[in-house]
């Protein structure tokens, strides 16, 4: 380990793309709260992990902030009521994942009174133990707001020796998305205070806030807030180069430290933990105000939106309600995207609700949409190699996966692909490379499971064979023993005598 701390020097990372930002268009208006929707659809699972037990029933009245599902271990994150009202149903509702599919959701009809349940802040967090804070955040339903929805408690907990810094990721590198930028502009103090809370929870002495070098206004706001909080000593504000995908966890670490997360390791191995700035502000709300994670800023933008803007939306708000609040659709919208244009997910329907990771709804019209066909063969131009931030050979991986040579693709480090989409964006043959990599990874996972199942089956089979062999041997040994006895005349006579008497006895009875 060297002595450089995150942000001592700004390093680059290989590859990446300079993209047009398209962010300003959604930043002209302040963040606003849309009117209360008629119904909220709260997905039962909104994080990487499993659903908690549902603790409410249809017909029941619930207060704002009340738990809808029970918290379990760190990968079972609870969901809370975004506003007071009556549970109408628990049903399957359209969801972003799986694409075109549905997920179980709790349907809530808000009563408009917005009545809170009892709030339990952790007011004295500066003196609370790390575990107490982590437990509190877990009970507040915290999962990463950056998009991946990784359970916050699972990231913070664990006996990691030497966590020295919490990195707050404010480098929102995807075009169009501006929710983090607006959050940092409007609530810089809460972001910093949240960062300090997360650092306390992780046992780190320092918070490093990473923003893009084009976010000058944000930097000024953060500096001012840091001064007000008297946190200059342990909060660093650093600008990184605006290159997509520097907001990726591994890339932001590389940009700030010059070091790489080991391929079989975690950021914790380098003494750092990365959280999204939105996660930090929400952690502050949970700890200081006792508000569970029930709302977030969503950017509603794109050429297909009449008045692009950022909205503070309750979890469960259907996207079409947000689009309406932003003036409705404009033109022929062909693709609706959750997230950004580089790595976002296409949505089949706009009835899909806001979840904890919904950072942006992007409406694209035909002109701004990648064609799905036709593709040409790979011409090996190497543009993908140039832009790959993981330093993979995307064209080689493509050819191997196309040839269904998945093991070779694994040798070429397919699992290290971060699916940023840079390769596909520059491909002159318009090959949907990321789709291939996702398929290849799924296939590798499936094979690993198959291999494990096969190994188990083999073990069972071998155990059975072993048992049958042993039984056979034992039978043979017994028979041999009897035969040996029969060979000796006197013992044989006894045997015969005994057999005759047994037969007689049996006859009598």
């Amino acid at each position: 380990m060297d002595d450089l701390l995150p942000g001592d020097r700004i390093h680059g990372f290989p590859g990446g793309l300079k993209l047009e930002h398209h962010k300003a268009v959604a930043c002209e208006r302040p963040v606003a709260r849309p009117p209360m929707p008629e119904r909220l659809f709260i997905q039962v699972v909104q994080h990487q992990g499993e659903s908690g037990r549902i603790v409410v029933e249809p017909g029941e009245w619930v207060a704002k902030g009340q738990a809808l599902t029970a918290a379990g271990d760190d990968f079972i994150v609870p969901e809370h009521t975004p506003s007071s009202g009556t549970i109408e149903a628990i049903t399957d509702h359209p969801a972003a994942f799986p694409p075109g599919g549905t997920q179980q959701a709790i349907v809530l009809v808000p009563d408009g009174r917005d009545e809170w349940t009892e709030r339990n802040p952790l007011s004295d967090w500066r003196n609370a133990s790390g575990t107490a804070i982590v437990d509190h955040l877990h009970r507040a339903g915290m999962a990463g707001l950056g998009g991946a929805m990784f359970p916050t408690a699972a990231k913070l907990r664990g006996d990691w020796p030497g966590i020295h810094s919490v990195i707050l990721n404010g480098a929102e590198c995807e075009p169009w998305i501006a929710c983090d930028e607006m959050l940092m502009r409007e609530r810089p103090r809460d972001v910093i205070e949240g960062g300090l809370i997360l650092a306390r929870a992780a046992g780190a002495e320092r918070v490093v806030i990473a923003i893009e070098d084009r976010m000058g206004a944000v930097e000024a706001k953060l500096r001012e807030a840091r001064r007000e909080l008297d946190a200059e000593r342990n909060v660093r504000i650093r600008k990184v180069f605006t290159v997509y995908p520097e907001g990726g966890e591994r890339q932001i670490i590389q940009a700030l430290t010059g070091r790489e997360v080991p391929h079989d390791g975690l950021p914790q191995d380098l003494g750092v933990i990365v959280h999204n700035v939105g996660t930090a502000a929400t952690a502050r709300d949970a700890v200081v105000e006792g508000r569970p994670l029930i709302e977030r800023i969503v950017t509603v933008t794109g050429p297909g939106i009449a008045e692009p803007r950022n909205l503070l939306a309750l979890v469960g708000t259907p996207f079409n309600h947000l689009v309406e609040t932003a003036g409705g659709y404009r033109g022929e919208v062909t693709r609706l995207i959750l997230g950004g244009p580089m790595s976002g997910t296409a949505l089949a329907s706009d009835e899909i609700p806001v979840t904890k990771g919904s950072n942006c709804v992007l409406a694209l019209t035909d002109n701004e949409t990648a064609p799905t066909q036709p593709t040409l063969p790979c011409i090996n131009c190497g543009e993908c190699v140039r832009v790959c931030p993981a330093r993979l050979l995307p064209q080689t991986l493509f050819r191997l996966i196309e040839a269904e040579n998945y093991d070779a693709a694994a040798d070429y480090d397919l699992p290290d692909c971060i699916e940023c989409g840079c390769c596909a964006a520059v491909c002159p043959s318009h090959i949907p490379l990321v789709d291939y990599y996702k398929h290849g990874k799924d296939e590798l996972t499936r094979r690993r499971l198959d291999r494990r199942r096969a190994a188990l089956a083999k073990r069972r089979y071998e155990a059975r064979e072993e048992r049958l062999r042993r039984e056979k041997e034992e039978r043979q040994a017994r028979r041999k023993e009897r035969e040996e006895k029969l060979k000796r005349p006197e013992e044989a006579q006894d045997e015969i005598q005994a057999a005759i008497e047994r037969a007689k006895r049996n006859k009598k009875t």
């Binding site: 191995d269 050979l393 290290d416």
Partner: protein, 348 residues
């Protein structure tokens, strides 16, 4: 409302194969204009012939292979192959040379290997290698540059020469054509003449051959345009030119009488064309950055070796074909280190 489902990224692609190939064609325009100025209209006929045969054969092969014809013709790769081949032809080469060259380039080197993206060898260079091996005589008849010529053949005379093999009576072959500077050099060295003596011949200019060196400049200009447009990366051309200088400079300094100067090497034959337009062919070249450097260096060294000891005056085409063979292996050996794999700075 319902929307289409598709994988990311969602924004329109920045480039297309057809667009890339068209950029290559634009970049060749200055050199073609210079070619016409120095050597007459012949190159235009050669380009027209080669492109016509290339596109015709491409369409026929696509039809035979049951591939979408319009889609693959719009990638312009056959046109580029035809133009690059034509630029290596003597201006008055007979028409059937282009037909045979394109047969080897498009049918054999490209489509029998699987079409666009799958050819191991650069098609234009396969075509060129085939015709220079089969018809060395026809390919050694170069038109003399404007300043040395009693009069460049006009449009009609050029057409007559290419399609009938005869020049009109007032011009004769010996007057308007001659050996290329590289041929002169080669023959001279064989006869134990000093390089400085050979270079006294009028056909030589400041660095390479008269006219030739100017065309090389325009190839370089086009190459810089491609670099600026990010159609090619700097690695291959820089490796070819730098290696040529690094290898030939010491030899020239030690024996200026028997070894041509580095600049003469660069400005002769197809070296600049090869460095910017042919060795940069993505399909048959390397795709890793270190691989591109090695590929370019290999092309330069093999070119110099063939020019010095080989059986043909210029070695660029054969050097590129030989390096094409090594490209898959070089790519494998120069694979970059993946993020987070076995580096010293990752800690733990």
């Amino acid at each position: 409302m319902k929307f289409e489902l598709a994988g990311a990224p969602h924004q329109p692609p920045a480039a297309s194969v057809g667009g890339v190939m068209r950029q290559v064609l634009y970049a060749l325009v200055p050199a073609v204009v210079a070619h016409v100025w120095f050597f007459g209209y012949g190159i235009l006929f050669q380009i027209a012939l080669a492109v016509a045969f290339a596109v015709g054969l491409e369409a026929a092969m696509l039809k035979l292979r049951d591939r979408p014809i319009r889609l693959f013709l719009s990638d312009y790769s056959a046109v580029v192959t035809g133009v690059l081949f034509a630029l290596c032809m003597p201006p008055l080469a007979p028409w059937w040379i282009a037909a045979i060259g394109m047969l080897f380039a498009i049918v054999i080197a490209k489509h029998l290997y699987g079409g666009l993206g799958y050819n191991l060898f650069n098609p234009a260079m396969v075509g060129f290698a085939a015709v220079i091996i089969a018809f060395p005589l026809e390919l050694s008849q170069w038109v003399l540059p404007r300043s040395l010529s009693p009069g460049l053949p006009g449009l009609l005379e050029t057409a007559q020469a290419i399609f009938t093999g005869h020049l009109p009576a007032k011009l004769n072959w010996d007057a308007v054509t001659g050996a290329t500077p590289l041929d002169e050099l080669r023959t001279g060295v064989r006869e134990n003449l000093l390089v400085t003596e050979i270079r006294n011949a009028p056909i030589f200019g400041d660095f390479g051959g008269r006219g030739w060196e100017w065309i090389a400049n325009f190839y370089a200009l086009g190459g810089i345009y491609l670099l600026w447009k990010r159609v090619i990366s700097w690695h291959v051309p820089v490796a070819v030119l730098a290696t040529t200088i690094i290898v030939s400079a010491p030899l020239w300094l030690l024996g200026p009488d028997t070894n041509p100067s580095p600049l003469q090497h660069i400005f002769s034959g197809a070296l600049v064309l090869g460095a910017f337009f042919i060795a940069t062919d993505p399909v048959s070249g390397c795709s890793t950055l270190r691989g591109k450097l090695l590929f370019g260096a290999g092309v330069a060294i093999l070119t110099l070796v063939i020019r010095r000891w080989g059986g043909y005056p210029d070695g660029v085409a054969f050097a590129i074909l030989l390096m094409n063979m090594t490209a898959p292996l070089v790519d494998r050996l120069t694979r970059p280190r993946t993020y987070g794999h076995g580096n010293s700075s990752s800690g733990s």
